[in-house]
Symmetry: C2
Subunit: 457 residues, 2 copies
């Protein structure tokens, strides 16, 4: 079947493809906040309809939280599973957006067209590159060159609580030869990238309890323990001056990367200066003696994602609050075990308690170990060639700082390898105000998937 | 003029007095939050009307923020100025209140009647003890035994920005022989107390800036500086392990209290165990080698009143925020100069910055030095006797952990001494959810003022 005709169809239909993407972007599918449950549901319905318009046998499947969307199409050729997520991050701080996060539009920025809105890059825009590649194949040839199972999740940004149970309950239906995942980025502008290793993640949240109630900082300032000071001291104790985590045993199961991989990473096109400049950073805060890429891809972290207590309103309030709150995520590498790190982290915090303070942990937060892809499979080299052809630049195997636990779940639950290909840029502001996705990424991403489908069949 | 008849009148009118207080408590006069501006204004109007009902020549006086209420009554006898504030603290965290903070009511708690609601103890209930004492005097004798100027402020809980300019502009009108202030508490249950020293206060607020925008903690965790970790480290650096503030020069102008005062404080009736228990504290967090009373009354503090950054909503968000925020108050003692401490505090914070972080200060926050009252004036001993008679217990001169900058302003702007008498209890939960004021404090407080007026004339 001709690939060129498919690529031409993708070029010709770009405006219509973008229009369809806008329809999905408008839905406020914030999965972490129960207030948006209906909108998440609407996004699932939207995808079912879009799949049906491709002739896919698609349905919405309820879970205890947000629905899965599953679809099947084709009867011959290799069987691929394509995964994407249709939920998005919360939009706060909303006041830092230049526009309504859910009123997407195309902007011409210094001659480069970008799609603006929450979820453009993470992950609706990326998910739709694959959908639109399939649409073009079907429009040109009446069918796809292979058998495809679609799996779209609505809980990725809130830790995927239903994913593993759903995969376990539907293992026979979901099992394919290889999973394709489109939720990653390119290591540098114009450098097509296949993720070969991902960091794992551990989430924690705790409340530090001090006085029995909020106190007046005049009447009680001095004798009363201040949870804001205590939580600051605890947080400050997590790292030493060299950026290393001080928790006992934290690095026990970290695997130092080999010289070979180090050398590959040095020439993969990653631009340290651009990466830092995109985020407004002037110097690295990570572990001493590791390059920025090593810090991002191969070293574990402990980050504070939320910290609060006391009065935050206008003016002042002379209060010593009863409690202080902290949200933490750790990125894990090598053989680090989330359960073991959780225990070590809690032990560390509890060893720091003093002056009658106590701690309460959120026991509903998940963890997932790091993943290393099976790059020896022939599909990896086939896809790498296809991407190189589209982008006119050698595609590279890269690490990823983010965590996409589903790659690990495909392996452990379905014994299925995964290949992660994505087209996001470092400057896409995912999880931040003013998220965007380059029209070029969307367009060439769609063309890339058309080429990958041809290469794998 | 007979005092007994006045006291009997107060007893007989208690219910009506409480009803009037309820009218003032219902007004949501939160001064620090601009959303309540109208309610603050209504409370001022309410006081003007209440003063007029006593035959006082009263008026509301506009300021750039919230109005002052000024009233004058009487032509002979010593000239006293009575000061109170009609604004209240914000009510958050509202979810910790057992009832609507602005729907006050009387509750029977283990046989003890208490008035529940925001401002009951700080300061509307206290303010009204003096008003009701005047009402009884006038009802019985047709006039007061002295000349009184009333000054009610609506900005006390937000740092009194208009107070000094107003005093300066109306110095001739406000100057009296002695100021009476009712905004303090009793050192122990049933122990009448005259405050002889108050801590001063310095307010600060800063934003710590890190990355140019919120970042994804997967893509940037490691290389990116995290303002939540950095602000924690800065806050942790404010104190050493002995609870001492580490800021350079912080203790330079602290005056150690003499053995004589130390001995007085030891026998003043303050119950350390009860004070700690009321707040749910098990051990003191203040400076080592100072008693709890010394920590509270004679030692400076640096407290964090608010701390926030990153994601605080339901679920998790893998974000490294661009900024972190911190609200600070220092309590000052001895000759500590707020301006000097402000400079030292800022210098300390700025010396802690690293990894490309920067700090922005709020430059609109005020400070006031500590105050020591002129207890050699005969009125102090006269009032002490009057209070001892009412409470059937020797009244004592005590320190106060809180800051009531107006005492200092009366001295510096109007060259007028002040005497602070109040009836609040440690367990009144002022500035906290479920604030209350004992009906006994209100009732005997009113009787106390009737006695003090008699004693001073």
């Amino acid at each position: 079947m001709s690939l060129d005709a498919v690529l031409t169809k993708i070029d010709d239909d770009l405006d219509a493809s973008l229009d369809r993407l806008m329809g999905l972007l408008k839905l406020q599918s914030v999965s972490t906040d129960p207030a948006y449950k209906d909108e998440v549901n609407k996004a699932a319905d939207w995808l079912v309809e879009d799949l049906k318009s491709l002739g896919v046998d698609a349905s919405k499947r309820d879970t205890p939280m947000h629905p899965m969307v599953v679809g099947h199409v084709g009867n011959s050729g290799p069987h691929l599973l394509f995964y994407g997520h249709y939920d998005v991050q919360p939009v706060d701080p909303i006041e830092l957006w230049d526009h309504d996060p859910f009123a997407p539009f195309i902007e011409d920025r210094d001659g480069k067209k970008v799609i603006r809105g929450r979820g453009t890059s993470d992950d609706k825009g990326q998910l739709m590159t694959f959908m639109e590649a399939c649409r073009a194949w079907i429009a040109v040839h009446g069918e796809l060159p292979c058998r495809i199972t679609f799996l779209f999740e609505g809980e990725e940004e809130t830790g995927s609580p239903s994913l593993v149970p759903f995969m376990e309950a539907n293992a026979d239906e979901l099992k394919a030869d290889l999973a394709l995942i489109c939720d990653t980025g390119m290591v540098a502008q114009g450098v097509p990238s296949i993720a070969s290793q991902l960091r794992g993640m551990l989430k924690e949240e705790f409340v530090l309890h001090g006085p029995a109630m909020d106190l007046h900082s005049g009447h009680y300032g001095g004798p009363a323990v201040n949870p804001l000071k205590e939580i600051s001291r605890i947080i400050a104790s997590f790292h030493d001056d060299d950026g290393r985590v001080t928790i006992d045993g934290f690095y026990d199961d970290v695997i130092e990367i080999g010289d070979n991989l180090k050398a590959q990473w040095k020439t993969c096109g990653f631009d340290e200066a651009e990466y830092m400049q995109n985020a407004g950073l002037t110097e690295s805060a990570g572990e001493k003696n590791y390059s920025i890429l090593e810090q991002q891809w191969s070293r574990p972290t402990l980050e504070i994602n939320g910290l609060w207590g006391g009065y935050q309103g206008a003016g002042s309030k002379t209060v010593i609050p009863a409690d202080a709150h902290c949200k933490i995520t750790c990125r894990l590498v090598g053989d680090m075990d989330p359960d073991k790190i959780r225990i070590a982290l809690r032990k560390h915090v509890e060893s720091q308690l003093r002056l009658g303070t106590s701690v309460t942990w959120d026991n509903d937060l998940e963890g997932a170990p790091a993943s290393v892809m099976n790059t020896d499979r022939p599909e990896f080299e086939q896809a790498r060639q296809a991407l190189s052809n589209e982008w006119d630049r050698e595609a590279v195997f890269v690490g990823m700082g983010g965590s996409i636990p589903i790659a690990g779940h495909f392996k452990t639950v379905l014994d299925m390898d995964a290949m992660l290909i994505g087209f996001a840029s470092e400057d896409d502001r995912i999880h931040s105000p003013n998220e965007k996705y380059d029209v070029e990424a969307f367009h060439k991403g769609t063309r890339s998937w058309a080429r990958v489908l041809a290469a794998l069949t």
